[in-house]
């Protein structure tokens, strides 16, 4: 069964003057027309019931516009949307809160805005308060809440809506670690109950973990659709293809730049795998002679902790580099990390001073290779040693 059907949807915004503001009336006279901007162009896709769809893309690719159209906050300029069932959208949780009202009053108000009946809210009140973990503060005006409490309460209300379709926009980016896990549990629970989820995020690891299928939007167009892993790969390739261009201006100021990063298995076209050899190739551009240069490639767990680092740092204190372009290759005989997505930071230092740092500029997608339990594959060999028959008997 199809829950969401998006058919040839385009959305145009007029920049500069707001919509058909009165300024447009005379703007023609001074020939300063507002520029039309297509946030979405001819996008079509479907979401099956019970499916979890991820939508990825860079800033301004049209993700949020799509979410607004799906939740009927705005209507498409062209094309059609069909949504079956009760839909709840979480766009910036807590944005509908009234600061002067208490947590309890806001639950009533916000729940009603999401389409809950008063009786339904009364029935779920305790569970909502409990999930948000704000029971001591429930009769305090929410303007006195911390931002974490705000978000927790907002998510908790929406999570209790029991929607047929849940739209999520970057909600997991906020809240502490424990609450994020609680949210993920709740989302998994909704999924088990056969609910449909549309998840919009920059957090590729979450998309990979949560979704069955992903869409890639690029400048308002749908450019890829398929398994999350494949779509995320394509997204990363695109990001890097576009990067030197956007960093072109910074070239003059910074003495050194990371220009590319790629991870590959020598002699294989397929991606890198656990336990298999890997080569990380970091391209750089140097603007002036630099002493004591050190390159670093840092891999982060999805949780944000540093997992491992490849570095040219050594006792000699770096290398001297002349202006020009080049690349550093790190050779790893066996990649120890478990399959999954890792965020990658790149940096260049000169005499201990950071010249260029790219945070989360890429993702390392490690595929399943040698079997592994736990966090790391430990390269090893084994044999039976010093075993005598008596020992075996005693055991």
């Amino acid at each position: 069964m199809i829950d969401i059907k998006v058919d040839g949807v385009s959305k145009q915004y007029k920049l500069g003057t707001s919509g058909n503001s009165p300024k447009r009336w005379y703007s023609g006279l001074v020939s300063r027309r507002s520029t039309p901007m297509w946030a979405l162009r001819d996008v079509s896709f479907q979401v099956e019931q019970g499916e979890a769809l991820g939508i990825v893309g860079h800033n301004g690719a049209g993700k949020t516009t799509m979410l607004r159209i799906l939740s009927s906050i705005t209507t498409p300029t062209r094309g059609e949307i069909t949504v079956r069932g009760r839909l709840a959208a979480l766009v910036e949780v807590g944005s509908g809160f009234h600061p002067e009202l208490t947590g309890r009053e806001n639950i009533d108000l916000h729940g009603a805005m999401l389409g809950m009946r008063s009786s339904e809210i009364r029935r779920k009140l305790d569970s909502i308060i409990d999930f948000a973990g704000v029971d001591q503060y429930i009769d305090v005006p929410v303007k006195r809440y911390s931002s974490g409490m705000y978000v927790r309460l907002g998510f908790s209300i929406a999570a209790h809506l029991d929607p047929d379709i849940l739209l999520l926009d970057e909600v997991l980016a906020v809240g502490d670690f424990a609450f994020q896990n609680k949210c993920l549990d709740r989302i998994a629970e909704l999924r088990r109950a056969g609910r449909t989820i549309v998840f919009i995020s920059h957090d590729l690891a979450s998309v990979y973990r949560l979704c069955d299928r992903a869409l890639l939007l690029h400048h308002g167009r749908l450019v890829a659709e398929g398994p999350p892993r494949q779509v995320i790969d394509q997204y990363q390739q695109m990001t890097f293809a576009a990067d030197p261009e956007s960093a072109g201006l910074a070239e003059l100021q910074s003495a050194a730049q990371c220009s590319s990063i790629s991870f590959l298995t020598p002699g294989h076209s397929a991606g890198v795998r656990t336990g298999h050899p890997m080569v990380a190739r970091l391209g750089y551009r140097i603007g002036q002679a630099l002493p004591g240069v050190v390159f670093r490639v840092s891999l982060y767990w999805p949780s944000g902790y540093l997992c491992a680092q490849l570095t040219t740092d050594s006792l000699q204190g770096g290398v001297h580099l002349e202006p020009g372009e080049g690349a550093v290759e790190f050779h790893c005989p066996a990649l120890p990390v478990v399959p999954g997505l890792y965020r990658v930071d790149l940096s260049i230092e000169s005499n201990g001073q950071e010249i260029d740092a790219r945070q989360r500029c890429a993702t390392l997608n490690v595929g399943p290779g040698k079997p592994v339990s736990g966090d790391f594959h430990i390269e090893n060999s084994w044999k039976l040693a010093g075993v005598s028959p008596e020992v075996n008997v005693r055991l």
Partner: protein, 263 residues
């Protein structure tokens, strides 16, 4: 027509929100204020005192034997209900842009909730009016029950004006800027501080075209004079109010689709 019906069906689905939001309008308004609810009656009382001083000491108005304070209060209450509901609704729709850009619910609930809150203030005011009627020994007749349909029609017309103006205000903020002046001028074109009898006969037909005029005059007639309402005037008011409401609602719903984009 289809716009109106679809809109109403959706509105019914969110009827609980209208109720909750109206209650919170009242709660929020008087939060962190010492006098709280008393503010709802101070405004009509203060105006009543000022107009009484002006129109009994400085100049005089024919009231047909009704004490002037009672005469003016009886018209001020429905007028304040009408005008402040519209003013609040127009500003209220754009007060929290986040509600329009981040959430979906039928947008007319915002202006309508201000109207409902104004209604509550009006009922509070009616208690004061009753107190004054007792004080001046003006006893109501059964005709006073006509006040109920009169107020319903007035609320309908207020809803029409509030929906129309608030929808335009999202696009053109000129509405909000012009509104205080417009309402002030409007008040003097209706028989609030003076009576319809003191208006030259050739202008009276014109007065009946404004539903607010006809309704307020009828409100005073049924409550203070104890007479039956002017049926023709009431029918015209109801007809105009209903037509205005249909048009305003259809306009509101058609502009709702892009409100989030232009706010």
């Amino acid at each position: 027509m289809a716009t109106i019906f679809n809109g109403l069906r959706n509105l019914a689905r969110f009827s609980d929100l209208l109720w909750v939001l109206s209650r919170f309008r009242l709660k929020v308004r008087y939060k962190q204020s010492i006098l709280g609810w008393l503010w709802a009656i101070f405004q009509p009382l203060a105006l009543m005192i000022i107009y009484t001083i002006v129109f009994t000491r400085v100049t005089t108005v024919a009231t047909g034997g009704i004490p002037y304070p009672l005469f003016v209060l009886c018209a001020l209450l429905p007028w304040i209900f009408f005008s402040s509901s519209i003013a609040n609704a127009v500003h209220g729709l754009v007060l929290y842009p986040n509600l329009l850009t981040k959430m979906y619910f039928p947008r007319e609930i915002i202006p309508l909730s201000y109207l409902a809150a104004g209604c509550a203030d009006f009922l509070m005011g009616c208690l004061i009016l009753a107190a004054f009627m007792i004080y001046y020994r003006v006893s109501p007749t059964w005709n006073a029950l006509f006040a109920i349909p009169i107020v319903i029609v007035l609320a309908g017309f207020a809803a029409a004006v509030a929906l129309l103006f608030s929808a335009i205000h999202v696009r053109f903020r000129d509405i909000g800027l012009a509104l205080p002046l417009l309402l002030q001028v409007w008040m003097f074109t209706i028989p609030v501080v003076y009576s319809l009898q003191s208006v030259p006969v050739r202008f009276r037909k014109l007065y009946l075209l404004d539903p607010v005029s006809g309704l307020i005059e009828n409100f005073r007639t049924v409550l203070l004079r104890g007479d039956r309402p002017d049926a023709a005037s009431l029918a015209i008011s109801a007809g105009i109010a209903l037509a205005a409401l249909a048009i305003a609602y259809a306009y509101f719903k058609s502009s709702e689709a892009t409100m989030a984009d232009v706010i």
